[in-house]
């Protein structure tokens, strides 16, 4: 799950795209996702693919790493594509569609901090955004702990056979669960002291600037040209 680590790291990079507002990036990505979903032209999908690659370059993101992360959904798309053999170029369309959309989503989260996106979700449901924030926070705490526990278990030959591996995986999962519950209870008490009522303010309100408007317009132009 080092992907979240990497994406979180990428989102704090400095580029003109990183500095755009979350809202404008979401609108831009949404337009391209819709375009991807509704086009059946391999050429148009290929054009979108190269546009995404250009955007990744413009955002100073490591192209090879993002392409590597995007291979995971591509594997699942392959299962569907293999089931579509015999329907002309449809398997290729399915693959490229899935790849494009996964790259677009990776691009969004690699240029926008998770907290900013959760904050935007908070406009719809503050409960959900608070839960997302807490999950995100816990995830990093647990990831470190589970890595340490797995290392310790390996030292004690905990994964020497299949049956032992399964049993120890269950034990590690439950130990981690208890540890995370204890951590969450502590945090919950600390939040209550601070007057927690089920809502956490996640990020400052972002300004909508001219460059944000231009970015959305860029998205609309691409959408209109390729939609036809």
């Amino acid at each position: 799950m080092s992907e979240i680590y990497l994406i979180d790291k990428f989102s704090s990079l400095e580029s003109k795209i990183h500095k755009l507002s979350t809202f404008s990036k979401i609108i831009f990505i949404a337009l391209l996702v819709i375009l991807n979903l509704f086009t059946s032209s391999l050429l148009k999908l290929a054009m979108i693919f190269f546009l995404i690659l250009a955007l990744i370059r413009a955002a100073k993101l490591p192209l090879r790493t993002l392409l590597k992360i995007s291979l995971y959904p591509l594997f699942f798309a392959l299962i569907f594509a293999l089931s579509q053999i015999g329907y002309g170029i449809l398997p290729l369309i399915s693959l490229l569609r899935a790849w494009n959309i996964s790259l677009l989503i990776l691009f969004l989260f690699s240029t926008t901090n998770y907290l900013k996106i959760f904050s935007l979700i908070g406009k719809i449901s503050s409960t959900l955004s608070t839960l997302l924030f807490l999950t995100y926070r816990f995830f990093f705490l647990l990831l470190e702990e589970i890595e340490n526990r797995i290392k310790a278990a390996k030292c004690r030959n905990a994964f020497i056979s299949f049956s032992k591996s399964i049993k120890n995986a269950g034990l590690i999962a439950s130990q981690i669960l208890i540890s995370s519950i204890e951590k969450s209870e502590k945090m919950y008490k600390a939040l209550l002291v601070k007057g927690f009522t089920g809502r956490i303010k996640l990020a400052e309100r972002e300004e909508f600037k001219l460059k944000d408007l231009l970015f959305i317009l860029f998205g609309i132009i691409i959408f209109v040209i390729l939609w036809k």
Binding site: P73, I85, I105, K167, G198
Partner: protein
């Protein structure tokens, strides 16, 4: 077993319906949760655990997700929130499409609900928690796999039957799809059932209060 259906494969009417159904139940769950502020610590802890265990490689193209365990701990209602959060965060880095978050949440929720109720029903058959947890997890995971197959199979139909629209149905060879997914899903279900059963046994001894199941 959680099959990550990627974006752009299923027709819009299908994943749109998934979002609609999920949001309806999710809205109820979130409103209920607002009044039950104590769960604010448990839902994120479990969601984070689900995300973390998905990172443990099993050597086969599947992973455990502990959605049934989430049902055992959070109950059938709050587990939906956890399942949604997990799918949303997973989608952010390409594990399951962003358009499929609704449907994938329903897939996981089915596991949580069936696992939870089956565990309760099995009380009449055996008092052994390990066996109850194993059987209910395995059955829940197999049902959810067939739910995924059902989703794929109905997506092959023309949506005109349902919506009178001109959208195209998914063209797919179901036999090939079944041959590719069923063996992996069954193996994944066996592994996850053992992990969940060991976890439930351990929790029963160490911290039984957190379990919703009795």
């Amino acid at each position: 077993m959680h099959i990550h259906i990627p974006d752009g494969i299923l027709p819009v009417w299908l994943w749109g319906s998934g979002y609609l159904i999920t949001f309806i139940f999710l809205a109820f769950a979130l409103v209920k949760m607002r009044k039950d502020i104590k769960k604010f610590s448990l839902v994120p802890a479990l969601s984070a655990l689900m995300l973390v265990v998905m990172s443990i490689p099993l050597g086969i193209p599947t992973h455990i997700n502990l959605a049934v365990l989430a049902g055992f701990i959070l109950g059938p209602f709050y587990s939906l929130i956890s399942d949604f959060i997990v799918n949303l965060i997973l989608a952010s880095f390409g594990h399951g499409g962003i358009t499929l978050v609704g449907l994938n949440t329903l897939v996981l929720w089915i596991e949580s609900i069936i696992g939870y109720y089956l565990f309760l029903i099995l009380k009449e058959v055996t008092k052994n928690w390990f066996i109850r947890a194993w059987v209910s997890t395995f059955f829940a995971l197999i049902v959810s796999t067939f739910f995924v197959i059902f989703i794929v199979s109905i997506s092959t139909l023309s949506p005109e039957i349902f919506l009178h629209s001109k959208l195209e149905g998914l063209k797919i060879n179901l036999q090939t799809f079944l041959a590719l997914t069923l063996p992996i899903a069954t193996l994944g279900a066996i592994i996850e059932s053992f992990v969940t059963a060991f976890a439930v046994n351990y929790l029963k001894k160490i911290k039984p209060k957190i379990l919703m199941i009795r």
